[in-house]
Amino acid sequence: MNTARLPHLFLLLPLAGCSGWQSALDPRGSTAEELHGLFWLFTITCTAVWGAVLLVLAAALWRRRHPAGISEAQQARSERRSGVAIGAAVAATVVIITGLTFASYLATRGIAEEHPEALTIRVRGYQWWWEVLYADSAPHRAFLTANELHLPVGRPVRLELATADVIHSFWVPNLAGKQDMIPGRENVLVFTPREPGTYRAQCAEFCGIQHAHMALRIVVEAPADFERWREAQIAEAAPPMTPEEEAGRQVMESKACGACHTVRGTAAAGTLGPDLTHVGGRQTIAAGMLPTTRGSLAAWIADPQTVKPGNNMPMVPLTAEELQAVSAYLARLR
């Protein structure tokens, strides 16, 4: 660590600031906005109360006192006044608490509105990645993807949250509060993204060894862009363009890959791992660990346990050419 940076650390504190792509202090969605307001109401009120307590404490410590002490009658009077002051403070507490509680109730109601026209997406948590299902009334237009969500700006979205194994929790602070994914329960998260951008979500419930690396990208875009993306996702996997990519496709189908992964349009039809039909087009792989490039794909496939120790993808032994081929193929799948 560079010790020259030490003084600058103190600057970082205020600069740590209010913007961020995984920040509750930078609301870009309906729910997050409401909660942001509630947060500041509570923070300002509570800071004021805390400050008042400390002021009274300081006054109690350092107020001027009679060096010779006071008479019993004066003492009794002071005690009576203290009693009244305490009563007043309790009354003030009751009023403030009631106010904060009702603010909380109103916000609860505000974020719980139902939207029949919401876009419904099912997100299922796995140890340590996210399966995403865009449902559709026409079954051939439904599709699976992983670790990334695209949402049209301004339209309410309804996430149906499920889990395949342990408890996970879906949290995209810029857009909404979190909701747990619990085995045996069907939980729902509803919110409306208000501003386009790329946001980061992270699993917020301890789910095992790689809980730290279970993140999601959420891309909020214009409705037209969203539809374009959706059509592309519905389509089958892009065909290989070069002999190397063709060899890669065969690796996918013949080696263990196909036992766990699906690439629609090929023989690979496993469901134990993320759907790879359009993996090349995603921003990251391994649930937010690496940016999607041909090189990182190769690094991941060559040794997933070094990149993300303990995760559920085994190291599949491949020759160097097979590795190059399959990563070229997967990079092609946009």
């Binding site: 103190f10 970082l12 805390w50 690396h213």
Partner: protein
């Protein structure tokens, strides 16, 4: 052991002839003492010896837990650090939390009670003292089991509340989660045992005249704590036992595929878990109420509302537990009821703060070290209480739940609300325990380092949580921008470690070379200061009589006492619940090795049952034998009636 006939039923009045000035003291010392030697040390039932052991052991666990904290901070100081592997980090935070909550915080509060309740209420020993001996060994063995498992890399790694299905048979292999669950059983048995002792001592062994409105506030706090332990602990033992059964013999309590429920675990755990934190907090609050008068030189203002606040918080705390489950998808209306109760608890909390402020206002503060810790408490705990009120709001909690904001909240209330008052209490009562004062100078450094170190370490965590940093992550990407603040936090945590290190140094130094304290160095008003420092084995030469809530201030000249108790056996006084009118004399057990053996038998049975259910059956046999040995009458004078 035969005794001369005139020894039968010898009363203390008989020794008052004035011929030998110390006859009574020497006689009592002989009857009540614990002789030297290993076997006698293992057989002692003197609450002061047991209490001392308990306190020291709890602080050892604090140090160990703090070392784990330092390891975590080292790992988190930089993004994607490779200092700790994910498996090791997950064990470290689990054991840090479980150790601090189960092996430090609750035991230390109980330990202080074991030592001080009999002295504060004016009796010779705690009720059921052998239970206390048993409790200590069970606690020691259970805590050791956890740490030995960790050293053997079999440490639990599922978080201090071990949510299922992660901790269940399907997703947690090996014995790690079972070690956690059985550690719960150990600590709950030992906590329940002490709770019973406290309840009976406070209700039935108070000095004559110590009516309900004259009981020291810390004793009230310990009484409420004891009742809370009795009502809350069964829930967590039920949960942990069901977990072991699910894992060991195939029951389905938490398996939704076979009619079980994942949330059942959370309900059971948090029904215990929330009262648990008030079990830790209320004694600390009591300590402040009892210490404050000595440092503002007047009685506490608002005795009645303070008692009410203790009772209200104790009861109300049993209805808050779902505030740990706000994001589980339960109906918001039901959850909001828990918001309401969690908000309402701020009222009695506020009452306490206001009464203390008034006490300081009306008094004349003396800025000695215990008082400095009380001031540190005000700053820190009230801040923690504010963030508590914030997370009590359902919608707000949906953003900050499971983030470092909550980590900040609970460290603020735990360290600010419990540890600071505890450290102040140690500085306050160390003279009574050892006969020597701790160092004012070092104490100021300790208080300063801990106060500043703590706030600089934990305040930024509020911001980190709001900026998206979730809990229980062994590493975070550099691109998140959390690195700078985490580094700052880790650096400041060194100040805390330094503060605690100085504290331990001061303890060791003062125990040997501290200034001799005398009976009442703080000129305090409660009964424990009426006897010598350290107290003799029998606590008081004669049981005192109490005529006010500040006995030593209101009876300046001499302490009223009663006579007539026997001195040929261990005897104390049983008094009534309301007014403490003397009812009967009662004997107090002699030293016995059986609690130690019973603790060994219990521990063997509990550890073995992690591996096979038959251990419960077979292990019950030696346990039964030791229990028979414990309760079989021995024909000692204490057995007379």
């Amino acid at each position: 052991m035969t005794r001369p006939p005139e020894d039968r039923d010898l009363r203390d009045t008989a020794l008052d002839t004035g011929q030998e000035p110390d006859a009574l003291e020497r006689r009592l010392a002989r009857i009540w003492r614990t002789p030297p030697g290993l076997v006698n040390a293992l057989s002692t039932v003197d609450h002061k010896i047991i209490g001392r052991r308990y306190i020291v052991t709890a602080f050892v666990f604090l140090a160990l837990g703090g070392v784990l904290a330092m390891l975590m901070r080292l790992q988190l100081a930089q993004p994607e650090s490779r200092f700790l592997s994910p498996d090791l980090y997950n064990q470290v935070f689990t054991i840090h939390g479980a150790n601090m909550m189960f092996l430090f915080a609750v035991p230390v509060m109980e330990a202080m009670a074991i030592y001080f309740v009999p002295l504060l209420v004016g009796t010779r020993n705690i009720a059921f003292p052998r239970l206390g001996a048993f409790s200590y060994w069970v606690y020691l063995f259970g805590g050791s089991m956890l740490w030995i498992a960790f050293i053997l890399q079999m440490g639990p790694d599922v978080g201090w509340f071990a949510y299922v299905p992660l901790a269940g048979p399907q997703y947690s292999s090996g014995k790690r989660a079972d070690i956690w669950a059985q550690m719960i059983t150990f600590t709950e048995i030992s906590a329940l045992a002490v709770a019973i002792e406290i309840v009976v001592t406070v209700l039935k062994q108070r000095a004559p005249g110590m009516s309900l409105d004259r009981i020291p506030l810390v004793v009230w706090a310990w009484l409420v704590m004891a009742f809370m332990i009795i009502m809350a602990m069964p829930a967590v033992v039920t949960a942990s036992s069901m977990l072991i059964l699910d894992r060991l013999v195939g029951t389905h309590f938490f398996n939704p595929a076979e009619g079980g429920d994942v949330l059942l675990w959370q309900h059971l755990f948090w029904f215990f878990g929330h009262p648990e934190v008030y079990i830790i907090f209320l004694p600390a609050v009591g300590m402040i109420s009892t210490m404050l008068p000595a440092f503002v030189r007047r009685p506490i203002f608002g005795y009645l509302p303070l008692v009410m606040a203790l009772l209200t918080m104790g009861l109300l705390s049993f209805g808050l537990w779902v505030h740990h489950m706000f994001t589980t998808g339960l109906p918001r209306l039901g959850e909001s009821f828990f918001t309401a109760s969690s908000m309402a608890i701020a009222v009695p909390a506020g009452v306490q703060i206001f009464c203390w402020l008034a006490t300081i206002w009306l008094g004349r503060p003396a800025f000695r070290v215990p008082f400095l810790f009380i001031l540190a408490f005000f700053f820190t705990f009230v801040l923690g209480g504010m963030t508590g009120v914030m997370v009590a709001s359902v919608p707000l909690d949906t953003q900050v739940h499971d983030t470092y904001f909550v980590v900040a909240h609970f460290h603020y209330v735990l360290v600010g609300g419990a540890v600071f008052p505890l450290l102040g209490a140690i500085y306050y009562w160390f003279p009574k325990i050892t006969g020597r004062m701790m160092s004012e100078r070092i104490g100021r450094w300790v208080a300063g380092l801990l106060f500043l170190g703590f706030n600089f370490t934990f305040f930024p965590m509020h911001i980190l949580g709001l900026q998206g940093m979730t809990r229980r992550i062994y590493a975070y990407p550099a691109e998140m921008g959390w690195g700078g603040m985490n580094l700052f936090v880790s650096l400041c945590s060194v100040a805390m470690a330094a503060g605690f290190l100085l504290f331990f140094i001061d303890i060791f130094r003062s125990a040997r070379h501290g200034e001799p304290a005398g009976d009442n160095p703080w000129e305090a008003s409660t009964l424990e200061w009426a006897t010598s420092s350290p107290p003799p084995p029998y606590n008081f030469v004669r049981i005192p009589v109490v005529t006010s809530a500040s006995p030593l201030w209101d009876e300046k000249g001499s302490l009223p006492v009663v006579s007539g108790l026997a001195v040929n056996r261990r005897e104390l006084l049983i008094t009534g619940m309301g007014n403490a009118t003397p009812e009967v004399r009662e004997t107090s057990p002699q030293n016995s090795i059986w609690p130690f053996f019973a603790a060994i038998a219990t521990s063997v049975m509990l550890v073995a049952s992690i591996f096979t259910p038959w251990a419960v059956v077979w292990g019950a046999i030696p346990l039964t034998i030791t229990l028979i040995g414990w309760f079989w009458p021995r024909g000692t004078p204490e057995d007379d009636s």
